[in-house]
């Protein structure tokens, strides 16, 4: 630690106190300005909010009336869905030897996609095949391994042995054909032998590959981390093990996004944006005033995109229909006068 000269000390102290004064003065100033502004704003907003709620009330009743059978249907649907899910889970639990979750759905999807893409790649030209098949095979194999992770003691050596025999066989046949493939034969044979003789080690190695959160760079011993697996999961993942308070939240958000997409294909993103926001607001039970305000805000943003970036977003992609955007509405009203003409043009 070095001793600073006294002069330096004092000037630093002076600077610090000046800074403190400035901060305090700024805080006082901002309080003095922002408080009255805040009060004025609230004074304006509150009656608006109340008015909107009153105006909304009849709509709210109608929507509630329409929605309640819909809600009952979705509830029933949800119950059947969960019922089915539970049955599937109960049946597959003994097969997987662990409680099935969406992770298994994810893994099965990866597996299926991997297999599909591998098979579909057979049609490609030789050099266009290599990469997709390699990646598809890797995806399928890894997801398969993860699916059977509770059987790895048995499965891993068997799989390795089978793989080794296969390599040995193909290597041998190519060797007989044209003299190449000796390496492959030897490697294959070696793998098969290892798989049979060192069953346990192969099983353990594969398990550590698959199950343990392994730090490639850490000092961890493979053995030690086995016990810590339970805690390690949450620690190693950082901030992202979370509790979902409301299971419906993500599902509804996803569903509404799909609806948003469908609406976009139908009537274009310009008008489907506020509709989406309103739907979300209704589900999240936001006050009607805020829902409307948010919907208007989102419409403004969509309009900004329409105007500045691309006016194609107002067109429904699938239907080719473009419900008249606001600028054309205003433009028509100004240039043509005559309500009839506007209506007819809008209809075409």
């Amino acid at each position: 630690m070095s001793q600073r000269p006294d002069l330096l000390e004092r000037s630093i102290g002076l600077l610090r106190s000046v800074r403190l004064q400035v901060i305090r003065a700024r805080k006082r100033l901002s309080q003095r300005i922002s408080e009255p502004i805040g009060r004025v704003l609230m004074a304006i907003w509150e009656p608006i909010e109340r008015l909107l709620s009153v105006l909304w009330a009849p709509f709210g009743v109608v929507i509630a009336a329409l929605a309640s059978p819909l809600l009952r249907m979705t509830d029933a649907f949800e119950r059947t869905l969960f019922g089915v899910a539970r049955v599937v889970a109960d049946y597959s639990e003994p097969i997987l030897r662990e409680r099935p979750t969406m992770e298994h759905v994810l893994l099965v999807s990866f597996f299926v996609i991997g297999v599909y893409m591998y098979v579909a790649a057979e049609e490609f030209g030789a050099s266009a095949q290599v990469f997709p098949q390699l990646m598809a095979a890797t995806t399928a194999i890894l997801s398969g391994l993860l699916l059977v992770r509770n059987y790895l003691d048995a499965v891993a050596p068997v799989a390795l042995a089978v793989g080794g025999v296969y390599f040995a066989y193909t290597g041998a046949t190519t060797w007989i054909d044209d003299g190449t493939g000796a390496v492959r034969t030897l490697v294959g044979a070696a793998l098969a032998v290892v798989a049979v003789v060192e069953r346990d080690r192969v099983g353990d190695a594969t398990k550590s590959f698959v199950a343990e959160p392994m730090q490639v760079l850490g000092e961890d011993d493979v053995g030690a981390s086995e016990e810590e697996e339970g805690e390690d999961e949450s620690a190693a993942t950082g901030a992202y093990t979370y509790d979902i308070v409301d299971r419906r939240g993500p599902a509804v958000t996803g569903l509404l996004s799909v609806l948003y997409m469908v609406l976009t294909f139908a009537i274009g993103m310009l008008y489907s944006t506020p509709i989406f926001v309103v739907m979300y607001g209704l589900w999240a039970r936001m006050s009607p005033a805020r829902t409307i305000a948010l919907a208007l805000f989102s419409f403004a943003i969509a309009f900004a995109f329409y105007w500045v970036i691309s006016d194609d977003i107002a067109e429904g992609w699938y239907t080719g229909w473009e419900p008249t955007p606001p600028d054309e509405l205003i433009g028509l009203a100004v240039s043509n006068g005559g309500l009839l003409v506007d209506v007819v043009v809008i209809l075409t």
């Binding site: 030209g125 043509n336 007819v344 075409t348």
Partner: protein, 333 residues
């Protein structure tokens, strides 16, 4: 397919409808009555885009309406063309295609939704084409040197602009019919990467457009070796010509920037646009730009454009055996 017809008919119906109800009598005579859209099937900053951005302001003056340049890149200009196919044919929307490269790509990709003949030509505004560039490190001055270098085995690789493109076919033809004995033809993803590869001497020579050859020469150690077009290049007055070594390749190597409109766009409307293009091409500012940058501005009116445009696909079919080309591409892969 039905959706396209449906969209087209909706488009036509609404065009007719708008005209009918717009309250103006004889709206065709008042063309253009709103701002126009000029579709460029390549991205901003590219060669074709620059032509458009140079000509558009002058055209706006002639037409009295603003022109919005709409870049729609993708699938080697096919996506933009497909979009243009579906637009209204009242003349307020038109686009640029580079013929015959566009027809070539259309044929190779076996597009079914539309045909080049579905579009109506308006004019052409510019010409560009291919040259061969080589890195100076190999001491190549003309095409003869290049032939010798490959024949002697001093050079092995030759770069072109993408599998299945017209430059791919040209590369094969150069070997088959012009004695350019390259060992390996290396495809890159477009003209820019080819230029880069030749500049850094990753490959000794490759196919580049005449305008990018200028840029390549200026950036250092690269020279344009031979002109693959028939048209002479002012920027390279002493350059070797491929026609000295064999037949003309112009049907593949010379491109015209054609302005085209969706099917059944009325001829008088297209005339108006064509005249505006003429004004823009002949404008002093544009001519200056062309000289400075090496871009070739050449105007062709509706009839000249139609002549060039019609029957391009048939001509290509005559000169090129597409099935054989596609097979060769598959084999060599």
């Amino acid at each position: 397919m039905d959706r396209r017809r449906f969209l087209k008919s909706v488009g036509v119906a609404s065009a007719v409808g708008t005209v009918g109800f717009s309250g103006h009598a004889g709206a065709q005579e008042d063309f253009p009555s709103e701002s126009l859209t000029w579709m460029i099937p390549w991205s901003e900053g590219g060669g074709t885009d620059q032509y458009a951005r140079q000509l558009a302001p002058v055209m706006e003056e002639s037409l009295g309406e603003s022109i919005e340049i709409d870049n729609r890149p993708g699938a080697g200009s096919l996506l933009g063309s497909e979009w243009l196919f579906e637009q209204d044919n009242d003349g307020h929307t038109f686009g640029t295609v580079n013929s015959p490269g566009w027809e070539f790509t259309w044929r190779v990709e076996e597009v079914e939704a539309w045909e080049p003949d579905d579009f109506e030509p308006i004019s052409f505004a510019g010409v560009f084409g291919y040259t061969i560039i080589a890195n100076d490190a190999h001491g190549i001055e003309d095409f003869g040197d290049l032939q010798d270098a490959y024949a002697d085995g001093d050079l092995d690789n030759f770069a072109y602009q993408g599998v299945g493109t017209d430059s791919h076919l040209i590369t094969l033809l150069l070997r088959d019919e012009y004695d350019l004995d390259w060992q390996t033809a290396v495809p890159y993803d477009g003209g820019g990467p080819v230029n880069e590869a030749v500049i850094s001497d990753e490959v000794p020579a490759g196919i580049a457009t005449n305008t990018s050859a200028i840029a390549a020469e200026e950036s250092g150690d690269v020279s344009a070796i031979v002109n693959l077009m028939d048209i002479e290049l002012e920027a390279f007055p002493d350059i070797d010509e491929i026609t000295e070594y064999g037949d003309s390749l112009a049907y593949l190597t010379e491109f015209r920037q054609m302005q085209v409109a969706p099917a059944d766009t009325p001829e008088d409307v297209r005339e108006v646009i064509s005249e505006a293009v003429e004004d823009a091409v002949e404008d002093d500012g544009s001519q200056e730009w062309a000289e400075e940058t090496g871009n070739i501005l050449e105007y062709g009116d509706i009839d000249e454009a139609t002549e060039e445009f019609d029957g391009t696909v048939e001509e290509l079919e005559e000169q090129v055996d597409f099935e054989e080309f596609q097979e060769r591409v598959e084999e060599e892969a």
